[in-house]
């Protein structure tokens, strides 16, 4: 999840297609809104000239709300590429950029599973606009109704698009701890979404689950021709994490139980997160979708970097507590050997250490 979003314009070009991509001469380039570039990934950020140029265009694009009616901008700007990662399993990869009016909070990976009678949506995106774009993407693939929307956890980049599906009256499935967390954090999430997205947040709102699952339990739903297992976990990334397995293709939708390239985020319990990861590794699956980042590496080795990251934080934080290093100093000392391995490390790492420290000091 992405809680803290200063404008980082240099990471925004996902929504821009630039015909003359390597030129700095902005007057000669054409800008097309509404077509996605291939996902740039974290590592292409060193392509400085391209990003500098694209960020200029992003700024120009940022002025569009002043001259076009908002609705029109919404329709034009939410570019939405989907990939069929396994038969009937479609994923849209979110952006690493901080959320902004330009990207509509399209930060988390979201997607859907299509059965013979029903569609299941796994996470609805960071705004109503993203939810709508996801729904349009579903309609481009199938006319089967959306019977289920699974909310993987309480973070706003994963659920604010749910309202876009209400017309289809789906069962909205969340962890048993989700309603309480939404009640507690919802006001703040709505306020900051409006602050960061402005008019682009229009229509986004908190939607409570219609069905909840207790930690440690599973539930199987039939989509017609394929069954899908939904599992509620003990506290890990948050205290309300759900995962989904499409049993017919062995495809695991992890939500933020797995980060690839993007700094993993800890919002609940580091020992719990490591325990859940150990369980996840045992699953024999053929395909997986992380909450952030791509699905290119083999399973379960794709979990190794995240596991090393949290194991390092665990070890170093325990040592810092033994050495009576205060929290204020610990956040500046722990885990920095990992800094080069992750996107957005500066934004999230110290908060992870804070969460780990305040948990482990009571061991």
């Amino acid at each position: 999840m992405l809680l803290d979003w200063k404008m980082k314009i240099t990471q925004m070009p996902v929504y821009l297609q630039v015909n003359n991509t390597r030129s700095e001469d902005s007057a000669s380039a054409e800008l097309q809104i509404g077509t996605a570039l291939p996902f740039p990934g974290g590592r292409s950020c060193d392509d400085y000239l391209f990003y500098k140029f694209a960020s200029m265009l992003a700024l120009v694009l940022a002025l569009f709300p002043f001259v076009l009616p908002v609705k029109q901008v919404l329709a034009q700007s939410v570019a939405f590429a989907i990939e069929e990662i396994a038969p009937g399993n479609y994923v849209h990869y979110g952006s690493y950029a901080d959320r902004s009016p330009q990207n509509f909070g399209d930060n988390a990976n979201v997607g859907f599973i299509v059965g013979d009678t029903c569609v299941l949506v796994f996470d609805s995106g960071g705004s109503f606009a993203v939810g709508q774009a996801l729904r349009n993407a579903i309609r481009s693939v199938t006319d089967k109704p959306v019977c289920y929307v699974v909310i993987s956890h309480v973070h706003p980049d994963h659920f604010f698009g749910t309202a876009a599906f209400l017309a289809e009256e789906p069962e909205i499935i969340g962890h048993e701890n989700l309603p309480l967390q939404l009640a507690a954090r919802g006001r703040h999430y709505e306020m900051t979404l409006a602050r960061d997205l402005g008019d682009a947040s229009e229509g986004s709102r908190i939607v409570l689950p219609t069905k909840t699952l207790a930690a440690g339990t599973t539930m199987t739903v039939a989509l017609g021709g394929r069954d899908v297992e939904i599992r509620a976990w003990a506290p890990a990334h948050t205290d309300n994490d759900l995962s989904v397995i499409d049993l017919s293709t062995s495809t695991l939708w992890l939500g933020d139980l797995l980060f690839v390239d993007h700094t993993p985020i800890l919002d609940s319990n580091i020992t719990g997160f490591l325990a859940v990861m150990k369980e996840l590794r045992e699953l024999h699956i053929r395909h997986y979708i992380p909450g952030h980042g791509r699905s290119d590496l083999p399973w379960p080795q794709v979990m190794d970097p995240q596991q090393r990251y949290f194991e390092l934080i665990l070890t170093e934080t325990r040592q810092a507590i033994r050495d009576n290093v205060r929290l204020m100093d610990a956040v500046n000392q722990i885990g920095y050997s990992q800094a080069q391995n992750w996107v957005n490390f500066e934004t999230y790492h110290r908060r992870n250490v804070t969460t780990a420290y305040t948990e482990l000091e009571w061991e």
Partner: protein
């Protein structure tokens, strides 16, 4: 046409960048409307020596990464002598629902005035420390904190009922009589925020409102606090053991629960929780 478009774009780019370059610069701490009200209510027309970092100083990391857990250290920089000492330290977060995060009282026997704790920030705000000396003079210093949502965030670490109010001490140094000794007190408590609204409207948020510390009956430090403190509140402060004795802590919360814990202190045997 091309050129005009370019110039036009450049102009607006310039405006855009200017307007968005630093959307939340540090404001002038003397011109905060909330502070004007707080100052009036708490100190009336008394003079507060502003920005006096020779008497009291606020330390924190420039970046606040978790608005629900912002470590803050406030040090008094004058010696606590029987004739000249900091009597009260007010810790104020201008824009929190309850701006007075803590009122801590000290004595000459505190040795040195220090309070390290962790605060919640609901909005970008100054945190101010006002020191009141025994003769009534007031000194203040402040730091700007960019963190928001800390009071709305619920407690992630659900405190089991059987560990509620459990306390721990952490001590760095050997015990030496008549020498200020730094001690950390940790309290297991959710310190529920009134803003982290429960689904149950009748629920009274349960947070710590008082902490009292004495040594063999003589006051060392006391604090009136609230949910501006993070969950599992932590207090790090000094006291001076003059002889073997017991450090006694009493914590009260808004549900009128009272928790106590003592620690035996001696040069021979060090410290031991009791």
């Amino acid at each position: 046409m091309k050129l005009r478009t370019t110039l036009f774009s450049a102009l607006f780019l310039g405006l855009y960048v200017t307007a968005h370059a630093n959307p939340n610069p540090e404001p002038d701490h003397t011109k905060i409307p909330e502070w004007a009200v707080i100052k009036d209510l708490m100190f009336g027309d008394r003079v507060i020596n502003p920005d006096d970092r020779e008497v009291i100083r606020v330390y924190l990391n420039t970046r606040a990464d978790d608005a629900a857990t912002v470590p803050v250290m406030i040090n008094g920089l004058i010696d606590q002598s029987p004739t000249d000492y900091i009597k009260t330290m007010y810790v104020i977060v201008d824009r929190n629902p309850i701006p007075t995060a803590g009122i801590f009282r000290f004595t000459p026997d505190s040795g040195r005035v220090k309070m390290e704790t962790r605060l919640r920030f609901e909005q970008y705000s100054f945190v101010r420390a006002v020191a009141e000396l025994n003769d009534g003079r007031l000194y203040m210093s402040q730091r700007w904190v960019k963190a928001a949502g800390g009071c709305s965030a619920p407690m992630g670490k659900n405190v089991a009922a059987d560990s509620m109010g459990k306390m721990r001490f952490r001590v760095d140094d050997q015990v030496e009589y008549d020498k200020p000794m730094l001690i950390e007190l940790q309290v297991r408590h959710p310190n529920e925020s009134a803003l982290a609204s429960d689904l149950d409207p009748d629920h009274v948020p349960q947070f710590v409102r008082n902490v009292n510390v004495d040594y063999n009956g003589d006051p060392v430090m006391s604090g009136e606090v609230n949910y501006s403190l993070s969950d599992n509140p932590v207090f790090r402060f000094y006291f001076v053991p003059r002889a073997e004795g017991d450090l006694n802590v009493k914590v009260e919360d808004t549900h009128d629960s009272v928790y106590t814990q003592s620690m035996r202190v001696s040069e021979e045997d060090g410290v031991a929780a009791q």
